[in-house]
């Protein structure tokens, strides 16, 4: 039976989950105001489970196959981490408990902060931001308060045109104005262009390293010097840190502020859109601005530190997405320095290998070597009337997930591909073969692509209809 949970269960009966009330009170004494129905279903447990299993069967997921979304780092999520994080000793803690009762949790937070500092070459980390964009917001707020404290009125943040949309959005939420820096013909920041637009009114240079084309900024040394000479702080979007672990410590090359995505680099699951975790690291001159509280070690005890007067304040109700920390720390413990370096090395090899194979049939505007991802383009299929979207949808028919499409904006018909280190050579070979087949189909039978997907739970959706007549909630049709 298909349909929504409301179609299935609005007139049925629920199971009993709440014990009999052993404290009955005259209802007249209770604050009962509501007369309208809550609109919740009434459905017995088997019906609940069947409903969600039916939904589950309509999802693509990592445990099913390759998920090569560029800049998303869809790597294997180790099952032991899930098991560990489910422990009641972690998920049963209330955030207002006495420090003495949460020593294990505080130790874990402290150790994770320390490990992230070492991996990134930073001096301190906050784990409070709940996602990457939340980390960006936090980092830019730190920069804002840093300049405020110095009495400098700087209004602009330089963001390359290849940046994620969250970058300019975070910048403007903080009250800064983003200024776009055009990438040069190499797909990188050109120091000369940077010099041209940087000024005493620039607060931050916000860059992604490696950038969203999967390229390491060759001139990073010069870029850092130009920025720092102008008194500008450098923010690094660490979404692509999977390329750099054990290879580059951003703090050691002059990055002042950066965020990580634990749900990318550190193997915690994406959960269909969250929860994530976006810790922010800074170098010493900015440590005092981090959100409160942090966790410190005093003798053998761990405690919250309520920070300095300079702290930007808070960005989360409590301490961040603690349950995500548990999984990320388990991952770091398992891999150690050696394993983390293996991750980045293999991510780089996998990406270059797939770029070589896919590049035989698709345009790759910025040839390698790339780091952990690369951007191909279906622009060569345009002559057959086929778009990147068609390629993406046809991939679904072959039972694999599509790459990130139409991003970065500086590549026409972009297909941004990140194979990640955990995928095996055979999987990459077969993905490349599918891409090859699709390029032939585009030339010989383009309608196959226009009509794709045909083998998925639903066909191509009418997104225009949804946007013109959005229906956000279920209503009983009488």
């Amino acid at each position: 039976m298909t349909g929504t949970i409301f179609d299935k269960g609005l007139h049925g009966r629920s199971g009993k989950y709440i014990p009999e009330n052993d404290c009955p009170v005259d209802e007249a004494l209770l604050p009962i105001q509501r007369k309208s129905s809550l609109g919740l279903p009434r459905i017995a447990e088997q019906g609940v489970i069947r409903h969600y299993m039916e939904l589950a069967s309509k999802n693509y997921h990592i445990d099913k196959g390759i998920y090569p979304l560029g800049s998303c780092t869809m790597k294997y999520n180790p099952v032991v981490n899930e098991e560990i994080a489910r422990d009641n000793s972690f998920c049963g803690l209330h955030p207002a408990q006495d420090e003495a009762d949460v020593q294990g949790a505080l130790e874990l937070i402290f150790n994770l902060q320390e490990a992230l500092c070492e991996i990134c070459g930073m001096d301190s980390f906050t784990l409070q931001p709940a996602a990457g964009a939340h980390g960006e917001l936090t980092g830019i707020m730190i920069a804002r308060d840093y300049f405020r404290e110095r009495g400098e009125d700087r209004k602009f943040v330089i963001v390359p045109d290849s940046a994620h949309g969250t970058n300019p959005a975070s910048v403007s939420t903080c009250g800064f104005t983003p200024v776009t820096l055009k990438s040069d013909e190499r797909g990188m920041i050109n120091p000369a262009d940077l010099k041209e637009i940087i000024s005493s009114e620039t607060a931050v240079l916000m860059l992604t390293l490696p950038n969203t084309l999967g390229l390491f900024e060759r001139d990073i040394g010069k870029i850092v010097k130009i920025a720092h000479d102008a008194g500008v702080l450098i923010y690094m979007d660490g979404a692509n840190m999977n390329a750099l672990m054990g290879i580059v410590q951003p703090g050691k090359i002059g990055i002042d502020i950066m965020h990580l995505n634990l749900h990318k680099t550190f193997s915690t699951p994406h959960g269909g859109g969250g929860p994530g975790s976006g810790p922010v690291g800074v170098r010493e001159h900015l440590s005092a601005f981090l959100p409160i509280p942090g966790v410190v070690k005093k003798m053998d005890n761990f405690e919250f530190s309520w920070g300095s007067e300079k702290s930007i304040g808070k960005v989360h109700s409590y301490f961040g997405n603690f349950n995500v920390f548990v999984k990320a720390y388990a991952y770091i413990c398992r891999l150690g320095a050696e394993g983390l370096r293996e991750v980045s090395e293999n991510a780089i090899i996998n990406a270059n290998y797939l770029m070589e194979l896919v590049g035989r049939f698709y345009d790759v505007k910025y040839p390698g070597p790339c780091m952990h991802e690369f951007v191909a383009s279906a622009v060569n299929l345009k002559e057959h009337g086929v778009s990147t979207l068609d390629v993406a949808k046809r991939l679904l028919d072959y039972g694999v997930h599509a790459p990130t499409v139409y991003f970065p904006l500086i590549v026409k018909e972009a297909l941004m591909i990140e194979p990640v280190e955990t995928e095996k050579k055979e999987t990459l070979d077969s993905f490349a073969e599918i891409m090859e087949k699709i390029s032939y189909e585009a030339a010989n039978n383009p309608d196959l692509l226009h009509e794709a997907p045909v083998s998925t739970p639903v066909r191509r959706l009418d997104e225009a209809y949804a946007a013109r007549n959005p229906d956000f909630r279920w209503h009983e049709r009488k």
Binding site: N21, E118, G273
Partner: protein, 462 residues
């Protein structure tokens, strides 16, 4: 020069490729070593040697390490917990954990390829519908990070709708929430003014009227408020309506089973913390920020929205919509910078609400209220104790003790009872002996009696 130093055979890093695989891949790429691929990274920027991290561990060692960390915790969920203040110890049916442990849900990404993400999309649509049902609002989004940031986002949204930059917020919210608001609104030059509370613990309506002016974009009503007290929502709504400002209601979702839903007193935006809808307490994260609004304001609202639609052959289906509001399209002019949200937590809430159902959810609210009332009856007459704001509460109330709060809480903790949150630091006006006591359906009569005994022993001893 660095070659590939991976030992053949067992490894810790979940990598499948063998040395032979890598050799072949490098050959295909046309390089002789990994080092050639790292050529763009100048050697001066590379890590020399190894990161200083603990040695790699086997799976069993990792489990052992975490067992030791776990042993350092005494989780509230295994104690008799009266802690609340936004995070509550409710009963969670096993269905929630089961569905959330399915990798079809937890290892999937944001549903950008809708054709292979119908499970996630439909579950979000159903979640949105349930939040709309509970709040009596027209639109709810796919989730925000938590209650505090949802409140901050709602203030940014209201200021953007009204093109004004002042919001009035009850002073009776904890400092940690005030810190989040201050941090979030600073960039937009929004002024937040706090409205004090009365001796009954309610929003001071007189002060509200005085501070409400033509520059005010929004007024925040917290229902029930942080002290657990039920506000006169209709009266406050009428005052706000008359001023032309928007009404933002910050509500506890469980209370909505019994209290008037905010849509019925004409709230413009409704936000709150959804942890009590089937999420573990998890040391305060991940949580679930929810936001609902009127249809007329949806284009100014933050975050992802899912709509029902059809596919090209007319099958009912679901898709993310109105994405032009979001950062990946509107960039610097987006309604919010949020991207990753708390999707799996929204799924948990949907499974929870589906499992307990209409009657079960009402039972949760009624029992929580009844048990809170029972505890109130048990302790309100005890020597030295007072309940300054009376019995106008839902499931949480302020208790004043004859001893400093910390002393009382410590004594209780020794008996396995987490007796509440000390309020003195955030609200000095309440003195150092006030605690916020929350009671959920999970507490038994025996737990309440134990609480009473502790109060009696401590109070009576003085």
């Amino acid at each position: 020069m660095r070659g590939i130093r991976i030992k053949e055979g067992q490894q810790m890093s979940y990598i499948q490729n063998t040395n032979q695989d890598r050799k072949e891949m490098l050959k295909t790429i046309g390089v002789s070593s990994l080092d050639e691929l790292l050529e763009p990274v100048s050697s001066e920027f590379r890590v020399k040697g190894k990161l200083k991290l603990p040695e790699p561990m086997s799976e069993a060692e990792v489990v052992g390490r975490f067992e030791r960390l776990a042993a350092g915790n005494n989780p509230a969920s295994s104690m008799k917990s009266f802690l609340g203040g936004g995070i509550y110890d409710h009963i969670i049916p096993a269905t929630v954990r089961y569905v959330l442990s399915r990798s079809e849900f937890y290892t999937s990404y944001t549903p950008y390829q809708a054709e292979v993400s119908q499970g996630t999309l439909q579950s979000i649509y159903e979640y949105q519908s349930m939040i709309c049902g509970l709040t009596s609002m027209e639109v709810a989004n796919a989730s925000l990070y938590d209650g505090a940031t949802a409140l901050a986002e709602s203030i940014l949204m209201a200021c953007s709708i009204k093109r004004k930059n002042k919001a009035l917020v009850p002073a009776a919210i904890p400092k940690r929430m005030k810190d989040v608001l201050r941090t979030y609104v600073a960039g937009k030059n929004i002024i937040i003014e706090y409205i004090p509370f009365t001796e009954e613990g309610t929003l001071d309506v007189k002060e509200l009227k005085e501070k409400l002016d033509s520059e005010t974009a929004a007024v925040v009503l917290v229902q029930p408020n942080y002290f657990g007290v039920i506000e006169e929502a209709e009266e406050i709504s009428a005052i706000v309506r008359e001023s032309g400002a928007l009404l933002i209601s910050y509500v506890d979702p469980v209370s909505l089973a019994v209290l008037t839903p905010p849509g019925e007193y004409d709230s413009d935006i409704v936000v709150g913390e959804g942890q009590s809808l089937g999420l573990p307490q998890s040391f305060g994260g991940p949580l679930l920020g929810f936001i609902a609004t009127k249809r007329e304001f949806v284009r100014k609202s933050p975050g992802r929205l899912v709509s029902e639609t059809v596919d090209i052959i007319g099958n009912k289906s679901y898709v993310m919509t109105l994405q032009t509001r979001e950062q990946h399209i509107r960039r610097a002019n987006a309604t919010s910078n949020i991207c990753t949200n708390e999707g799996l937590c929204a799924l948990a809430a949907a499974v929870y609400l589906t499992t307990v159902g209409e009657d079960g959810f009402r039972e949760v609210a009624l029992q929580s209220a009844a048990k809170a009332r029972t505890l109130y009856n048990m302790i309100s007459g005890l020597p030295g104790c007072s309940i300054p704001f009376g019995d106008n509460f839902f499931q949480e109330f302020v208790l004043k003790l004859p001893v400093p709060a910390d002393e009382f809480l410590n004594e209780a903790r020794k008996r396995g009872v987490l007796a509440g949150i000390s309020l003195g630091e955030d609200f000095p006006g309440l003195g150092d002996s006030a605690v916020l006591v929350a009671v959920t359906e999970k507490r038994s009569r025996e737990d309440l009696q134990l609480y009473r005994d502790i109060v009696l022993r401590i109070g009576g001893g003085k």
